[in-house]
């Protein structure tokens, strides 16, 4: 599973950096490298662009995994280039942004928008596969999640917008319920599709969701 990101428009990034002329750039060696939004190459490109906008880039780094606890050590007091900066431009997903914001008492400006948690189906092709709804139904739906793969996250079968196995919002997208139907049929388990699913609990954990492993 990867946190899928997209770079914000440069205009929005520079707006976020207004009044902050000394910038330290942080990339991420995991998801953002894989999606080519915050790996070494993108960080260096950003450095050039910021310098072209008369910003001083005091330094940069690509953390192995920006969201993990190692981040705190990497951006500690010993990091002189970071000390020299008056902000961090973070080229990781929102998890890394938040980890940095906990660790450093400087403004952390996100350069990316976090889109979804996804799998890479074919190289460069990322699909959302889990909405983390808190109550998994994959056992009834042949391993295809209707909460994420169906545009309307329907639990009891397809809507009337499906056509030739495609979704009403895009002729190139598969209808999740047609996929589920086909796979259940293949497995001889269509009785599962006939089963009624009640309304999902929207408050499995009230937001903000917190859990403690004992």
């Amino acid at each position: 599973m990867k946190s899928i990101t997209k770079q914000k428009p440069m205009e929005e990034i520079t707006q976020g950096l207004s009044g902050l002329d000394r910038v330290y750039i942080v990339g991420c060696g995991t998801c953002a490298t894989m999606t080519r939004t915050g790996g070494r190459e993108e960080v260096l490109e950003m450095k050039e662009r910021l310098q072209g906008l008369d910003k001083i880039v005091t330094g940069w780094t690509v953390l192995p995994t920006a969201c993990d606890e190692m981040t705190e050590a990497a951006v500690g007091q010993s990091n002189g280039a970071l000390r020299d900066a008056n902000c961090i431009l973070c080229m990781s997903c929102a998890l890394g942004v938040q980890r940095l914001a906990w660790s450093v008492n400087k403004p952390v400006i996100p350069a990316l928008d976090t889109l979804f948690l996804g799998l890479e189906e074919t190289p460069g092709d990322f699909h959302e596969v889990c909405a983390q709804c808190g109550h998994c139904v994959l056992g009834y739906t042949a391993g295809i999640c209707p909460i994420t793969a169906c545009h309307k996250h329907l639990l009891n079968g397809p809507c009337g917008g499906t056509n030739n196995g495609k979704c009403e919002i895009d002729k190139n997208r598969d209808c999740a319920w047609t996929l589920i139907y086909n796979r259940l049929k293949e497995q001889g388990r269509l009785d599962l599709m006939k089963m009624y699913h009640p309304v999902k609990d929207a408050q499995v954990l009230p937001r903000p969701r917190i859990t403690r492993v004992v």
Binding site: G157, N163, I169, Y181, Y196, V199
Partner: protein, 300 residues
């Protein structure tokens, strides 16, 4: 007192419903004119619920106008815009004001409409909405709390008999019957042989089926719908028939086709009735009824 829509459904007569779309804004003149035109000619009038995800005057508002003008409304309710609290509250309000029929729909996607960045809800689906109605009728809300004053509705749903593949739609249809749907108004049908096949299946279930008749106004529209509207398939012979109409007479041809289909459905007892959708041409619904030989447009 006039028969309720449920009584009409169970009377054995060939049922005719039609529908109106509320306006974008508060000028209700045209909607009220359509209500007056239809209310005594059909057994009930649907009011669409932000059809195609285009924000409009609400369905419930349209239904109240139908009631005030002496007609029988069918409240279309989609799951797109309201969570379970709002849907239940609207059902309580509808009942308190005499609205007794509800058509439960999933609802079109937000992104096909005119508020493309709006949040969608879809907390309930059409099966769950049907069950919500049946649950409210037990005197309790979805939270398990007692209602002070209950509801009772004649609840319906939709089916797309032309969808490919059809099997997943049939499973959903069965789930809607189990959820308590009493009637079905189908998506537009044009291929009567295919529809008869669907009816062979549907006849196994205790539910009344009204075939969806969408007025064709031109060969271009027929082609467009076939190519772009999910679940609508207009056979080539009908497209050719529309194309063969002399200039300016395609609408008349469309009325003839709709009338002929309705007449066949009735005479051959293929289904229990029809739901006529004239989509912006409500003016000609009486002509369609006349073409169908249904009381010269003065049905019932």
């Amino acid at each position: 007192m006039a028969q309720s829509f449920r009584e009409v459904l169970n009377s054995g007569k060939f049922v005719v419903t039609s529908e109106i779309g509320p306006p974008k804004g508060t000028n209700l003149e045209s909607m009220c004119h359509h209500i007056d035109l239809l209310k005594d000619r059909v057994d009930a009038v649907n009011v669409t619920d932000h059809q195609s995800s285009v924000m409009r005057y609400p369905s419930l508002g349209g239904c109240l106008h139908i009631k005030e003008r002496g007609g029988e409304p069918i409240l279309q309710m989609t799951c797109r815009d309201r969570n379970q609290m709002a849907l239940q509250a609207d059902l309580l309000f509808a009942y308190s004001r005499g609205v007794r029929n509800v058509l439960c729909l999933t609802g079109d996607s937000i992104v096909v409409g005119d508020h493309k960045n709006a949040a969608d809800v879809f907390e309930l689906d059409s099966c769950q909405l049907l069950r919500t109605i049946r649950h409210l009728e037990t005197g309790k809300d979805l939270g398990g709390n007692d209602l002070d004053g209950g509801v009772e509705f004649c609840a319906g749903a939709i089916v797309t008999p032309e969808a490919q593949p059809i099997e997943p739609q049939l499973i959903k249809f069965e789930k809607k019957v189990e959820a308590g749907a009493e009637f079905i108004q189908t998506q537009a049908i044009y291929d009567l042989d295919n529809f008869a096949k669907f009816m062979d299946h549907a006849r196994q279930y205790p539910i009344k089926v009204l075939a969806g008749i969408v007025l064709l106004v031109s060969a271009r529209m027929a082609k467009f719908m076939t190519e772009n509207v999910p679940g609508i398939f207009v056979p080539q012979n009908l497209i050719d028939e529309l194309a063969s109409a002399p200039k300016g007479e395609a609408l008349k041809k469309g009325i003839d086709i709709a009338g002929r289909m309705i007449s066949t459905l009735e005479k051959e007892s293929i289904c229990d009735g029809v739901h006529i959708m004239a989509i912006g041409r409500e003016e000609v619904v009486p002509d369609i009824l006349a073409a169908a030989g249904l009381g010269n447009g003065a049905h019932p």
